[in-house]
Amino acid sequence: MVLKIFFPQCCNRADSGLLVGRWIAGHDSAVVLAVIHYPFIPGQVKQYIQQMQAQSGVELSVLGSWSLPKEGQEGMESFLRDLSTIFPQERWLQISRQMGKMGFTCEILNRGQNGKAAQRRVKKEKKEEEVDSGEAEKDEEEEDEEKVIFVHYEQRKVMLSQLHPIESGDPDLKTDPPSELRQVFQTVALSQPLFFLDKYDDGPLKSTHWQSEGREASIIVELLKQASVPLCLLLSWMLSMWTWLCSIRIFSLYPLRFLSTKLSTCVQLSYRTEHMRTLSSPKAAAGHTQFMRKANMLVSVLVDVALGVLLMWWLYRDEHIAMLANTLVPAADHVAKELEQLLQWLMGAPAGLKMNRALDQVLGRFFLYHIHLWISYIHLMSPFIEGILWYGGLSACLGLTFALSLLSDMVALFTFHIYCFYVYGARLYCLKIYGLSSLWRLFRGKKWNVLRQRVDSCSYDLDQLFIGTLLFTVLLFLLPTTALYYLVFTLLRLVVVLFQGVLHLSVDFINSFPLFAIGLRVFRPYRLAEGVKFRVLCDEPGVALHLLMERAFDGRVVQPMEEAA
């Protein structure tokens, strides 16, 4: 049998006292949670432990005694042994440590056999053990095989790492008893009330645990916690106003609704509304996943707004807006000029291709006229562009994503002519391909049977054949011209779509990048641990095994205790 004692690292140098913790049923292991120091009144200790038990729901008990003798505190051994009669337990641990030695000594008093306290000494000094007592202890060890393994753990990390998902509603897990380590983690995480007692408290008891040097807290965090409730209420009220505004009937009319699904600003607005609704809900996050999602959302919103404010600061400083507006119109002009040159090139003999001259001229003039229309539209708009930019820039205070979405929409509006070209070209090309495919069937004397979904042979009339062949010839010889126009305008459209895609990608990146999780991973990696691993602190013959429990990220929970046993 191997007795495993999970010992908090913060109690390594604690003053002598009582060990408070929990025996884990069925696993022959104990978790030490805190040390209560002398002097104490046993009745008060019992009362305190009962109180804590009621608060945390963990079966706390006094495990034994801890002694770290200092000068002037000799001769305590007998006193500590007597304590076991005051706190009746199945097993009584007596852990002691000599100053200047690394190892602990542990004695286990078993009161199982007819009240006669069978005493077993287990050896665990690391160095400098006295020869004679060592031999004596060896003999005793041979008598009963009970060994002790100390597993040192860092109480704070174990408490905060979410390695005990017992509350997950999986019914299969409930039938299996949780594993030993899981119980350890759960015990530590649940016994938070035990850690509220610190050394500045003026109570009758003094104890040592990870917070006993003073409770860890931040004024900012506490203030934020206090402020978050009215903030959430305000937010949810504003959200309800906003949703009420959005649900006005006029917005659900067809053109507006269609427009709102196409404008990325509107899409982003609804997305953020959903985020804010989740964030401002008064219910606390249920479960670790939910909490992480909420925290990620909050951080992304905050980062977004910060970046947006930065952008605003840049935009409204030094008349950057006017500068932008003044460069925008020449840029549009430039694009239009380039397009005109492209069309002129297409109307010639582009790349030596055999185009149909007449159709080429018709298409080219059509598109040139379109560009002309577009240019006049831009020039009509030019006095208002600065105003539009100024007011549009204000949206950056809602976040960088809004500014980017607005930019994407503006790009879409400013390149509307390219979109139109693309649609015309694509429609023409589609019609042509469709006509050619069906006329090719006619050419071969076949037809598409709609009922059977296949190509059947068919005998056509003479005039049908004649007209069909005539059209087929015409379409076939005009195909390269249309295909070239289609290709060029598709490429142009692709450039615009690519730019918009980059914008949308960055918006999505800001929206959904798990910044909080990454921050946790960098600054508090134990919060996201996937398991634990053990490192041997001291493993020498005749000395108890000391292990250090550390977090692991690869999801493997190593359990070397069986090996050690």
Partner: protein, 294 residues
């Protein structure tokens, strides 16, 4: 003798599989080859009959040659489109009259087309061709001439290959379409829109209507049919000869081989035909199944 040479037991062998018999499954007896039949239902071709049938192929070849000749004349400006149009019109009217006469001789045709339908078709042809001729004129402007020639040659060849020589009266889709495609390609090389129109009308006459008339002629007046074929062939060779003597020689050789040499070969080789039938053939259903189908 069966393949296993089984000794003849008392039970006679029957050619059935549903009974258990003391013979292997692949056993046959001596009567096996008695049912062998050779060259069943063979038709003994006579040389001049075959030549007459092959005349259709020859005249189709000549038709293509005539069309090409006309196009050559048009391209060189030797033939004005008005002349061609007038000639085509006269030919079409004559042919239509002849067609009516031949049709009225035999009233076996189910649902003869009315004159109104014919007029409608003619109107459609003319209006579409006339409307499209400016478009067709500029269609292949940028395509190089060699490409157009190659395309036309391939298409005319496809026309000749896929022509339904046995039953040309409803024109085969692929053959007619290929011929029309080729004529559109060629017509677009001509100098003017009216030229294109005239050429297409001519193509319609030659490739679509002429085979119909000839089919009627073959059915109703076999004596004149041979004469017409010879006339067309001579016309084709002569016409091509006025433009390119080499082409005319080639055409004449081709016509000779198609109409005279190939039938001779066919008749000669028919002696070697050895087609065997017997009980090993797939089953044929001779019963009239039409009552089950309805």
């Amino acid at each position: 003798m069966g393949p296993d040479g089984a000794p003849g037991p008392a039970v006679p062998w029957r050619k059935v599989l549903w009974e258990r018999q003391p013979f292997p499954d692949n056993y046959v007896d001596q009567r096996f080859l008695e049912e062998l039949r050779r060259n069943e239902g063979i038709r003994q071709y006579r040389y001049w009959a075959v030549v007459k049938e092959a005349g259709f192929v020859g005249q189709q070849l000549s038709c293509v040659a005539i069309f090409i000749t006309l196009w050559l004349y048009m391209e060189q400006g030797l033939l004005s489109p008005a002349t061609l149009l007038c000639t085509s019109l006269v030919c079409a009217l004559l042919g239509y009259g002849l067609h009516q006469v031949l049709s009225s001789q035999v009233e076996s045709c189910s649902e003869p087309r009315t004159h109104l339908a014919d007029l409608q078709s003619a109107a459609i042809f003319l209006s579409f061709t006339f409307g499209f001729s400016p478009v067709l004129k500029t269609l292949t402007e940028s395509v190089s001439t060699d490409t157009v020639y190659a395309m036309s040659a391939v298409m005319l060849l496809a026309h000749l290959l896929s022509f339904p020589y046995a039953e040309p009266s409803p024109p085969g889709s692929l053959s007619l379409n290929a011929a029309l495609f080729a004529s559109v390609c060629l017509a677009s090389r001509l100098p003017g829109a009216l030229h294109t129109f005239a050429m297409l009308s001519c193509a319609l006459l030659v490739f679509a209507l002429w085979p119909c008339l000839l089919q009627r002629l073959r059915e109703n007046a076999p004596g004149q049919f041979a004469g017409v074929c010879v006339g067309v062939c001579v016309g084709g060779v002569g016409g091509l000869g006025s433009q390119s003597p080499g082409g005319a020689v080639l055409l004449a050789l081709a016509l000779g081989s198609v109409t005279l040499l190939c039938p001779l070969l066919l008749v000669r080789l028919q002696r070697h035909k050895d087609n065997i039938h017997g009980p090993w053939d797939e089953a044929e259903i001779h019963e009239d199944l039409s009552r089950f189908l309805n």
